[in-house]
Every structure is written in structure tokens, then in C-alpha cells.
Symmetry: C2
Subunit: 413 residues, 2 copies
């Protein structure tokens, strides 16, 4: 079974929003063995949607459509779908009751725009939207399935998880794709490709390898195609075991593991805690840590020391060292790590101090210069890095590198 995704909305085509829905949908479809052949973003005009529907059903068995179902006048998907399937719009009573209850519960009245959310093409099957007022719609036509859902991500996700994916899984039956991604950090893509060439060439035919580069990280995705999920998983694991021997220190996790998740697991195993002192990363390390559910079990807290006062007053950095060596220096970043470790009574601490940009660079310390320290019960280490001239990327690279240095300390590497 092959699927296509059509996202509707001028906001994607003028670049106002990034289409995050499609990536989520594609990943969920892959999990049930449904490959995605194409993702198409089109404008909210009837003729464009009709053409996209005509094209998509030539390539795919299932066409998933998101967007254009809001209560406002710029949303026209429902009307176009009714015409496309030669059906008329009728009021769906359970949806009307749901919409009314939805607003009543929030102490709000129901206006005509809200009531119109309950109008659906007569030929469709309505899919309940537990998170919002626009229902999903399931159409079957010429042995093809068409599903229309709202574009609001959490509403789309509810409908997909509760109705669409279970049904498609049942219809699809056999045929499996198994993906596993190996997360690596610290080796540039071309050098990695050279190291892995022999291994890659020896992969079995049914396993496909892809390199997915991110700033500072390369993900290696292995995809195995076949019918027996257990066999495919075994074959993928076998290849990963070989890979581990080639690049042992660079692999930090698998699939959607983030460095924060991996570090958190290691700390929990050691029953240890961590704190962070952040200057140039400005809270990004704390944010990536606290995005992990349950991080309160191993994360004590963070001091974002953006001004020098806070470095000296809160983290007890020696003001003479700031004066003498500058805030971006080995002396200061070590004291920041030691200071926050003591302040928060944590077992481990990481600290960052650098020039994120766009301003603040000097000849000696250009934009992108970052000092990172990791303090442990045994010792405090510090290292200097030179990243790029882009603020956003410097913040991300610094945060990742700090967490990776902590990982290596926790692994005793």
C-alpha cells in the first residue's frame, strides 16, 4: 500500500509556516508498512486541489489531505471535496453536539461559523476529532481511500492515531519496512562515508543506508524491506553491531534519541544529577534537558549567566579572572561549572561561555569561539571550540557539544 500526503494552505507556499505535519504522518505510516511516495503542498484554490487529487491517485492507494477545514472563509477544502465526490454538504448531528459541548465547556457561546463545522459531504464517513471542532472525513472512491483532516497539528494527530492509522493497518495487512537510525556525533560526513565504505558495500540488498546530516551530527538510517518483521529487525541489528566496531565512540544513540535523553538515562542509572551554567547557550541546554519527560529526576537546574554580575555573584566566578582572561576563557568556564555544581548540589555540571554572534567577536576571539567545561565528582575538564559565524547554529552546536562531553565523561571515555 502506497500513500501520498497533500497539505493545503497558502501559509506553506508563502513560507509562513513550516510543514511539520507531513514528517509526522510519514513516520507513522512507515511504522505500519505504508510507504509515502510523494508529499505535495498546494494552495487553497479548488482547481489546484482537484488536480492534486487526480495526480495523487495515479501513484498511490491512500491520499491523506490536511488543512483548509477551519471555520474561516479562506478554508474551502470541504466544499471542493463534496463537489469532487459529487456529494452534497449535510449537517452531521454528533459533530454538531460535539462542537456545542466543546464551546459550552469553555464557557463560550456557539456562533454560525462554529455550527458550520458540522457540515460534511454526505458520502463520507465522519472521523471524530477529540481535540477540536473540525471533524476528519474518510472517502472511498474507485478503490482508493481519501482522508481529509484539519491542519492544526494536534487535531490531525488525534484523528490519525485514533481512526486513520488503525484502519489503514488493518486494510494493509503484510509487507513491512523496518527502519533504525544510528545517531552519531563528531565525525564529518565525508570522513564517515570513507570509514564506512566497505561496510556499506557489503550490506544485503534488502537493506538501504541513508546519511542524514544535521549541524555537528550525522544520522545513519538503515531501512530493511520484506515481509517478516522479526527477520528484518535481526538483520538490521546485525549490521549495527558491525558498525559499532568501526565507529565506537561516535555513536551516542538510536532512532529519536537526543543527547539529553541518552545523558538522562546514564545519570538515572548512576543515581546522579546534573546542573548547567549557561552563558552563550542561553538556556538551550536546560531547555533540551527539560523537554525530556521525567528529567526532574536527574536535572537540578540551571543558571543562565548572561551578565558578568551573575557569573560572579551567583556562580562565584572570580571577578579578577573575568577582568584578566575575559568571560570567554578556560578559567571562567571552569569556575562556572564548579560554581553551579556546588550551588545546585549536583553530581555533575556543564558550563558554556562563548561568542554566539552576530556581534561581540574580536580578532583573538572571533564569533564562534566557545569554551565548554564539564565538572564531575572527580575532576573538571574544559575544551575550546571554534564553530561558525551563525548565532543560531553556534547555540545549537555548543549545546550539543556540551551534552556530548558530559556523555563521554559519564561513559569514562
Amino acid at each position: 500500500m502506497k500513500a501520498e500526503i497533500i497539505t493545503i494552505g497558502d501559509e506553506i507556499l508563502i513560507g509562513q509556516i513550516v510543514d511539520t505535519n507531513s514528517a509526522w504522518m510519514a513516520e507513522e505510516l512507515n511504522k505500519i508498512g505504508v510507504g509515502v511516495t510523494q508529499i505535495t503542498s498546494i494552495s487553497d484554490t479548488p482547481v489546484h486541489l482537484v488536480n492534486a487529487l487526480d495526480d495523487a491517485q495515479l501513484r498511490a492507494d491512500v491520499i491523506l489531505i490536511t488543512g483548509g477545514l477551519g471555520p474561516t472563509k479562506d478554508d474551502r477544502t470541504k466544499k471542493v471535496l463534496a463537489e469532487y465526490f459529487q456529494s452534497s454538504l449535510v449537517c452531521h448531528k454528533p459533530t454538531l453536539e460535539h462542537v456545542t459541548a466543546f464551546f459550552t465547556r469553555r464557557g463560550l457561546g456557539v456562533n454560525q461559523l462554529n455550527k458550520d463545522q458540522a457540515l460534511v459531504p454526505e458520502c463520507c464517513e465522519v472521523l471524530h476529532n477529540p481535540s477540536g471542532t473540525a471533524p476528519g472525513m474518510w472517502f472511498e472512491n474507485n478503490e482508493k481511500i481519501f482522508v481529509s483532516m484539519p491542519g492544526v497539528p494536534f487535531e490531525m494527530k488525534s484523528i490519525m492515531l485514533e481512526a486513520v492509522l488503525p484502519r489503514l493497518k488493518k486494510i494493509n495487512g503484510g509487507g513491512v519496512i523496518v527502519h533504525k537510525t544510528v545517531q552519531t556525533i563528531g565525525i564529518p560526513e565525508s570522513i564517515l562515508a570513507e570509514k564506512l565504505e566497505e561496510w556499506e558495500d557489503a550490506l544485503p540488498d534488502f537493506i538501504h543506508l541513508a546519511y542524514l546530516p544535521n549541524p555537528g551530527q550525522i544520522r545513519l538510517r538503515l531501512s530493511a524491506f520484506g515481509n517478516d518483521e522479526t527477520q528484518l529487525r535481526k538483520a538490521v541489528e546485525l549490521e549495527i553491531e558491525k558498525l559499532k566496531k568501526i565507529i565506537p565512540e561516535a555513536i551516542f544513540g538510536y532512532n529519536n534519541d537526543t543527547l539529553a535523553v541518552v545523558v538522562g538515562k546514564m545519570l538515572m542509572e548512576k543515581k546522579a544529577t546534573v546542573a548547567t551554567a549557561e552563558s552563550c547557550t542561553g538556556g538551550q541546554i536546560a531547555h533540551s534537558i527539560t523537554s525530556v519527560p521525567g528529567s526532574s529526576g536527574w536535572f537540578k537546574g540551571s543558571v543562565v549567566a548572561y551578565s558578568n554580575d551573575i557569573k560572579t555573584d551567583v556562580l562565584k566566578v572570580n571577578p579578577n579572572d573575568i577582568e584578566k582572561h575575559g568571560a570567554v576563557s578556560e578559567q571562567v568556564v571552569r569556575q562556572m561549572a564548579d560554581g553551579v555544581r556546588k550551588l545546585c548540589n549536583a553530581d555533575y555540571a556543564v558550563a558554556t561561555s562563548g561568542v554566539a554572534g552576530p556581534d561581540g567577536g574580536t580578532e583573538e576571539k572571533p564569533v564562534g569561539t566557545v569554551w565548554i567545561a564539564v565538572a564531575s565528582p572527580v575532576e573538571t575538564i574544559a575544551q575550546k571550540f571554534t564553530f561558525s559565524n551563525n548565532r543560531e547554529r553556534n547555540i545549537i552546536r555548543s549545546s550539543q557539544t556540551a551534552l556530548d562531553m558530559l556523555r563521554l565523561v559519564l561513559e569514562n571515555k
Copy 2:
């Protein structure tokens, strides 16, 4: 002039990465009056790319292609393009020199995979890639323009900004689209639509309105189509003036303004500073503030007080109040705001304490319960909110609401 964007790579179709390139490209194209008719994500297979190229040139004048130019074996775009334009691959000497210098500067050797980056179809014009090793390629065929660029975002952006956009602008000449987005917060979409119905119906024909909802925020995008940019801008501003009178308190900014940017401007005007004390938001407020270049001028720092020790030891919250009222309470969040304001010697402070989830909820304080406080030189205010049961959304909503409360305090509203 109409454009289409084709992104190549299985990683998008299996949902491993979100396509952020297209949104950026679409926005930049719109700025020079080039509308985007469709964005298509396809797999890295020759037949799919050929079909997508055939289709796209029926609808558009310019086809921008990203991805599939990496040094590794899963990248096949260059070979397919050479065949599509009936050309052969030849070595481009300046690119080979650039690639060699690129690796030498980093103290690395050049391998065959790197050298192959300099192979390009003979019929194309090479576009220099200052940020990486894969060059861009410009093709002209049957009065259509095709541009192929690497998929790595900052490499693509360099080539677009330095070569592609200036050329397209010159070729395109007249015909302008003017967009302006009004950022609102605090009014749900359907209520906003009702409030704005009369204004929306009275908009001139050449101005189009779109509602773009985000968690807790609705952006209103006005798009004006015509030939005279000055006239279009005037017409859009006139409509925004009318809008301001209908929803004065809900508008916090325009276009890509974030709450952090807006709050930063207000603080700079007042020559004032802010600090944050974050429990449930875990550094997200500090991170969104420090993502703004120049924020070191008005942001002192943050204490991410994830454990109660830090609330009492660092922020000087009374331990009895935590005992009596719990960490998620008005008493505690007020003391957090006052404490961090004093600690960081800031003029203003915001503090958050809540149950982000998925665990930690009780009957009295379910997941989504959040207390937010804002301290100013005059007074400290606090408010309770009940958001959702989704951790990620609770963190975002809480951070936005905290910054919006600060905005209203700074506006004396």
C-alpha cells in the same frame, strides 16, 4: 513569474526530517514577487525526479530543486540532471580548487568522494557554494529555469542569497506581492473571526486575508497583489490601522516578530532589564530571549529552578510556603519572581511554576496547571492558567503567556 520547489530525499518521505528549506525559499521568493505554486517532496529515485521535473515545468517558470547532492552513494540528483538535459558530467576546476581548499583549511585530506563534488553537467552554469563543497547548478531549457542546490539548509541559503534570488529578481521585473502579518495572542480563532467579520468583508479585492493558528496565537496575514509596491503597502497599512481599533490589546507584533523580540524592544526603550525564574518552562523563556541577537543588552539571566532546593537556596523562596501551598502555587511563583529580580539585580522578572506533564498531576492541580508571575519595580502580579495535557505544548504556552504578561506590564495595560 511562478516558481515550484522540489525537495529530494527519502528522509523527508519517511518523516525523519522536517522540510524547513521550502518555507524559507518560499518566503524569499515572495519577497521578490515570485509566487510559489507547489512544493513537492519526492524520493531520491531517477524516475520520480524526471516525472516531477516534467510536471513542474507545466505549471511554473522556475523550478528550484534541493537535495541529493551529497558526497555519498544515496545522492543521485547530479547524474539524473545530466541525463535529463542530455549533457555529460565534467570536472569544474574552480569547484575542485574550492573543495580542496575547504578541507585543507580544516587540516583534513581530500578523498575521491570529495573530489567528485566538482563533477557537474557540462550544460549548467555553476553557482559557487561558499558554505560547503557541493556547488549549485543553473540550467536553462525551453525557456524554463532549473536550479539545483544542496539540501543542507545553510548551504542552500548561501547559494539562494548570493546567486539565485538576485538573478531571478532581475529576470522577473515588475509584479509584486506584499505580505504583512499581524501577530495576535489571547483570542481563540472562531471568536476572532466573528469580531473581524465586518472588517474582513470590507477588504478590497486585491487584499487577501488568511488566519494562521499556532498554540495560543493567531497570525493574520494580509497579502496584496498588484504592480505598485508603495500603493500596496499603503493599502495594507490602512487596513491594519482599522484592525488595531477592533482588537487593540491582542496585537503584539508584525511579520516575524516574536514576543521576545517585542519585549526586548520595549525594555531597550525603557533602558530596563529582565531576569527569569523558570520551573515548568525549564529554560525555554531564557532560550527564546537569548535567541534574539543583542539580548545581552536587556537580559540579565535566568535561574532554572527545577528542584525545590534551588527555589529555596538560590531564589530564597520560603520553604514553609512550598510545604504548605506546594511548589505550584501563587505564593511560590511570586517569591520566585521577586527572588530572581533581586538576585540578578534586574528591573523586571518573570517566573513560572506548573505541572508540565505527563506525570505529576493531582486532582487539585492537574497536568497543565501553571502559575505565572511578573515582578516590576512597582508591584508583582500573578495569574493561574490551565493549559493542556501535552508537555511540549504546556511548555510553549507557558513561555508565551509569561512573555505576554510582561509585555502588558511594560505597556501599562
